[in-house]
Structures are given as C-alpha cells and as structure tokens.
Subunit: 337 residues, 2 copies
Amino acid sequence: MKDKVCVIGSGNWGSAVGKIIGENVLKYPGLFEPKVNQWVFEEDYHGQKLTEVINREHENPKYLPNIKFPSNLWAVSSLAEASQDASVLVFVLPHQFVRGVCEEMRGKIAPNARAISLIKGLEIKPDKVTLFSEEIARQLGIQVAALSGANIADEVAQQRFCETTIGSQNKEDGELFHKLFDTDYFKVNVIRDHVGVELCGALKNVVAVGAGISDGLGYGSNTKAAIIRLGLMEMRKFGQTFFGTVEDTTFFESCGVADLITTCSGGRNRKVAEAFAITKKPIDVLEKELLNGQKLQGTLTAQEVYHFLSSRQMANDFPLFTTVYRIIYENAPLESI
Amino acid sequence: MKDKVCVIGSGNWGSAVGKIIGENVLKYPGLFEPKVNQWVFEEDYHGQKLTEVINREHENPKYLPNIKFPSNLWAVSSLAEASQDASVLVFVLPHQFVRGVCEEMRGKIAPNARAISLIKGLEIKPDKVTLFSEEIARQLGIQVAALSGANIADEVAQQRFCETTIGSQNKEDGELFHKLFDTDYFKVNVIRDHVGVELCGALKNVVAVGAGISDGLGYGSNTKAAIIRLGLMEMRKFGQTFFGTVEDTTFFESCGVADLITTCSGGRNRKVAEAFAITKKPIDVLEKELLNGQKLQGTLTAQEVYHFLSSRQMANDFPLFTTVYRIIYENAPLESI
C-alpha cells in the first residue's frame, strides 16, 4: 500500500511546502501515491474559485504568487474529500482551525495514518500548555510529528538554501517525513524531541520582542546577542521545566538557535517592539499601523507565558520573558530589558 | 597576603578591561591590593609619553578616548616593574607578543601567580593547534584561564550591557576572576572548559567570512542563519575532535552562540567577505582598501584550519570551514557556500 499524502492548509507556508511535497512524492514512486491533495479553504479570486485557479494555473496567486506548483498537487475545497483515505497528513494552517478540522476528518482518514504539524504557536492557559501536535494526536488518535525551523515561506519557495527540523518520536515516521520534505535547498534534520521543536517556534517570538526593545533603545549588537542567548536559555529552561522530554541539543537545531537568530534580526515581532520602544505607542495602535490590525504573536505569547508562570510563582525564574511582559503590559521602564 | 593584579596590554580591549579591574579590586579590599599595574607599550603621544598621559589624565586617549579610568589603575612602561610580585596576571595583548612577554616575566612574578588570557586567536600549524592560554601556562609554569564573549571594547567601556564567559579549570581561580571582571553591565559566567572558550574566539571568524559571502550574494536571513548554525556545529566538532575536554554547553555561552551572532552581524570579517563577494577583488586588496592594510583574521584562520584538517584527510568532515577556504584561496564559486 502506497502512502497517500494530504496537505491541510494553503496559505503562504502551506503553498511553499505543498510545492516541495508534490515534487518529492514523485521521487519515491514506490512509496507514495503521485497525487497529493491539498485542502484549500475556498475563496473568491477575482470572480473565480481559488481552487479552480490553482488547478488550472498550478499556482496560488493569492498566497504565493509567481511560484509554479507541480501538476500532481491538487487543490480540493472539501476537507472530507481531500483527506479521504489519506495516510500522511500535513497540518499547515492557523491554529484556531485545528479542532474544527480534526472533528471533520475523524473516521475518514486511513487506519494507519500519521501526521506532521507545521502549525505555529502553542495554546498556553494559566493551568496548562497545549502543543498542537498533541491536540491533533488526541483528536485523531494518531502519532503526530512537528516541523519548525528558520524558514521564511517566500525564500523556501524561491529555493533559497535553509534548514529545518522535524521532531518525530517514531523513527520510521521520521524517515518518511524526511523523504517528504528534504531537498537540496531545504535541508531537513530529524530529531526525536517533537516537543522541543514546537516550543521553540512559539517562545522565540517573546525573545524577538525583547530584541526589538533593545534595538529601539539603540543598544549595541552585544546587548542584543546577550538577549538572544539569554532567551535561548529561557526557552530551554521552560521546555525542560514543564516537559521532561525536551533535550539540550534541540536548541542547536534550525528550530532553535537558527530560527531565533532570524526572528530577532528581521521579523514583525522585532519590528513592532522596536517601534514600541521608539514611539511609546500602545501595541494595539502599532498593530493597526504596521500590521493592518493583525495581532502580534510575541506579545500575546509573553502575556500567556507570564500568567502560566505566575500562577506557579515562577515568573522570577524567567527574568527575560517576565521583563518583556512587564514592559509591554505593565509600563515597566524600557531600560529594564 | 592580598592579590596583586597586573594587566598586561593596553590597547582598546586592554583599556576597557583595565577600567573594570581597577574598579572591581576596590570592591574587595580584603582580597586585592588597591593598586593595579598596567603594562603599557611606551609610545609617543603628541610629544608626550603615553604612560605619563594615562597616569595624569586617567584616560588612554590613543586606544580608548573619552573613557575615564579609576586612579588606582597605573600605567607602567617597564614590563619587569609592572609584573614584579604580581599574583594575578591578565594577558590582553596581540598574540605575537606572548612569547617575548612571558620570557621577560619569568622569575619575577609571585610564586602563587595565576593568569587569565583575553588574547584573541590560536596558533594553528599543520601538525598542531596551540592555545595561547596553554602557551602561557607552559612558559610560566602557572594555571591559565581564558575569557571570551560577545564583547566590543567600546561598548563595554560605555557600560552597555553584555555577557562574557570565563573558562577556568580551577574552581577557586574561577571565583577570583569572577570577582575581578563581573559588573552589573558586564556579566561573567564561569565554566570549566577553558579550551572551548578560546577555540570559539578564533573559529567564529571563519564562520563570519561565510556569513559575509552569503550577504554579498544577497541571500536571505534564513540562509545566513543556517550558515551561522552550521558554523557553530563545526566549531563544536573541531573542539571535540581535537580536544577531548570541550563540552557541548560551552557553545550556549556568550563565548559561543552570542559572540558568533555578533561577529556574523557586524564585524570586519563579515564586512570584508561581503565586499569580496560583491567586488571579486582579492582579499589583500580589500585589506588595503577597508582595513588600512591590516590582516583579516577569519581568512587567515580558514587557511590554517584547512591545512591542519587536510594534513589529517579531514577537510571534508568540516564542509563549511573548507568551503570558506576554497572560495577565498582556490577560486571556488561563491555559490558553493
């Protein structure tokens, strides 16, 4: 039985990895069905259905313009149809849709199905941190790996060299996902620590807010390097304190140090925090001005992490995370960074 | 017996740490003699002796202008006089002077003397890598620690926050050096792995050349983050292959990841390599144009590392180091980075 792959999601990142997956399945005709379904949330695109445009033009002009897909990547607007009998599920969609999507898929996927989550973020409540890979595993009763790294969708789509990290508890699944994602320009390293991989992807944004404040204050590159380093150490401490399985070496991977460097160099979290330090305008005003009203991830995560930590009397054990929170939400002086 | 501290060297970095050491010995009057001698290579400064200017103005206008020293830091032009009976030696001078200086000091320092090396670089010959801390230890028969980190002298002198790492095999010496260097704005972390600390300070420059080539080619931030990460991993592999005592965690310290980030963001190695990729001019021409003829450290180190590795048939085990060498010295295509 060959594996049937379904990509769930078709935004900027979903389109970039859909292209890679479509190309890679053809390299292993003994392992994978050639056709890859991609679930696309149906939208109108200049009077046409987006799925029809994608399947005719082999391109997603809305979310990844000017990049051609292989013709075996097939856009499907019905989730039930797209995931029917799929044995490999690639989740790459905004986290707020995860639960609804899983509910709709239950009972339709192949009995031996396994999944990988490229979903960004975590659900942090005062009493509990939920990884989306674990939420999918619980909802569908399957094994779920995670992928995260220093990967900007457009650069990946343009075949600029970068690396990424897959965390897979199951070794065979790890090898399968390596085949599905690895290319000359998108180098995959597979490790076991899927929890660490996912934590890095969310917590890095808090560190980037700290780095942006440092930039806004005009501090030098050594101060910023210290903030990045201390941030990496708090990410590690958070993982190892609340998830026993998180390993030191994960933070040397692309999902760790490399993604953190990129996020603290460019990236919206750094940029909005820099503007916050310079202009002193509230974050919600800056979100309107700089992000068309979209919510900034790093400040939200800082707030959630703070409430999680303070409900355990542990806020002082994570001074960088806590200082970022206090500067943004409690008017602590910028210089306290 | 109180410890008598001598700072050997008075350039930009020597002046910045001389200021800290002068201030810190006064915080521990029970441990240290208040007067700190600083050996200054005598030069003419606008018709006056540099040592006289320093001792009158409490400032080194040639190497660290506009920064005031504490008055207990005393410039001495005679090395024998400066180091007489010193029990704590701080080496902070260009590496080519190390052997001569040690010869002159032999027999004059206190019997219980110990030292710390802030010397940048390594001596890499095809048959052997020599750490300057070990060279000093051999020459003087004393224990030698090492200090390295993401520290730009001017930023440290201006009391901008940064971190640094001290590697000290001997725990008591480590505590002593912590007292001598640590301040609110210059945070010292002491570890045991002095070899790793010193290796990082030299090998980072090779990685920075790679990062500069990537910048010169117009590659994105993810590619650069991948180069930085792969470089960190090759630094670790080099240390662990050729020095058994090098530890994983050293690379999470300021001397490791933080210094590497700074060096690959700003810094002359990155800058000249970027110019090399853009202009295709030979490195020695760029050294004349951009560095007033000073030699670039990273390219030299890349060459030395390459000869060291290839004499062991191990060049291919360090693909980033080797590719940097081949691009600079063997006309390999820039894109091979």
